[in-house]
């Protein structure tokens, strides 16, 4: 599989670390804002495992180290494109997901 990194151009998927679906922002943690157990459970463990078009986080670990969101089809393995994760969430008009490191 080849992934078109917005910074680096077309690169083999071996350079990337997959990090799951880019569906919902990470719940806020800390202070008085502890997430409800159910919200946190969902975030950690519930996966839709969609067969078809998906948006997924990939970390370009052996490249420019950017977090990107890859738009692809899990049935056909076709890759449509990739967006910087920060721009992906800006386009969705939502707060970017908190950076969690690796």
């Amino acid at each position: 599989m080849l992934i078109p990194c917005p910074h680096c151009g077309l690169r083999p998927s071996e350079e990337f670390t997959p990090k799951g679906l880019a569906e919902a922002p990470r719940p806020v943690i800390g202070g008085a804002d502890l997430p409800e157990d159910a919200t946190w459970q969902d975030y950690l463990h519930t996966r839709t495992n969609r067969a078809g078009d998906t948006d997924e986080y990939f970390h370009h670990a052996l490249g420019c180290r950017s977090w990107v969101v890859v738009h692809r089809n899990t049935l056909t393995h076709e890759v449509y494109g990739a967006t910087m994760a920060s721009e992906f969430w800006a386009q969705k008009n939502q707060q970017p997901e908190q950076e969690t490191g690796q």
Binding site: H7, C8, G9, R11, P12, E14, E15, L62, G63, C64, R65, S66, M84
Partner: protein
């Protein structure tokens, strides 16, 4: 003040002279730049463009947006708003970038090996996934050399600078000598 003596980061196998196939012209010529000053610079959020402007004004270099063509021999782009500034005074770099970016002295953290010669493309074909045909001279790419993270800068048709993390350099060097043996490697 005590003096710190750094051992050869490329390991015991990396010795001057001819390695591997001994007949004719060496397919690979390799040099290690010892004592090089390398400062890693990373723009703070939203400051990548002002950082490029500050570097261009401060050091008279021409940079771009980070695509392969947009680097300089002494300013190797490794990611969005990320550069390895090579051969510049550390304090001068910190003064030039001000509060636009984080600047960290990586002179003892990164190792540069330069390779050249008629067999360089054949050697890179074994270690690097990038398409040399789509890689302009003067372009930098952050990728890998085998499994080792590596920043590349293309100096010429067959000339490349490879930047490794110091603790991976001996492994990379030993592999380079083994994989280059069929072409002959001349270490200068």
């Amino acid at each position: 003040m005590s003096t710190i003596v750094l051992s050869n980061p490329l390991g015991a196998h990396w010795t001057a002279g001819r390695h591997g196939q001994a007949e004719g012209e060496a397919g690979i010529r390799a040099t290690h730049a010892a004592g090089l000053t390398i400062v890693e610079v990373a723009a703070l959020p939203g400051q990548a463009q002002p950082l490029r402007a500050a570097l261009e004004a401060g050091f008279g270099m021409t940079l771009g947006d980070g695509q392969p063509a947009h680097s300089a021999e002494n300013a190797v782009c490794t990611g969005p708003g990320h550069y390895l500034l090579v051969g510049h005074d550390v304090q001068a770099v910190k003064a030039a970038v001000g509060d636009l970016a984080m600047a960290v002295d990586q002179s003892s953290g990164r190792v540069r090996v330069s390779i050249d010669g008629p067999a360089v493309a054949d050697l890179l074909a074994k270690a690097c996934p990038l398409d040399l045909r789509a890689w302009p001279i003067g372009g930098a790419q952050a990728s890998h050399f085998l499994h080792i993270a590596c920043a590349y800068y293309r100096r010429s048709e067959h000339g490349f600078d490879l930047y490794f993390g110091r603790s991976f350099a001996a492994s990379a060097a030993q592999w380079l000598l083994d994989a280059g043996a069929e072409f002959g490697v001349e270490i200068g």
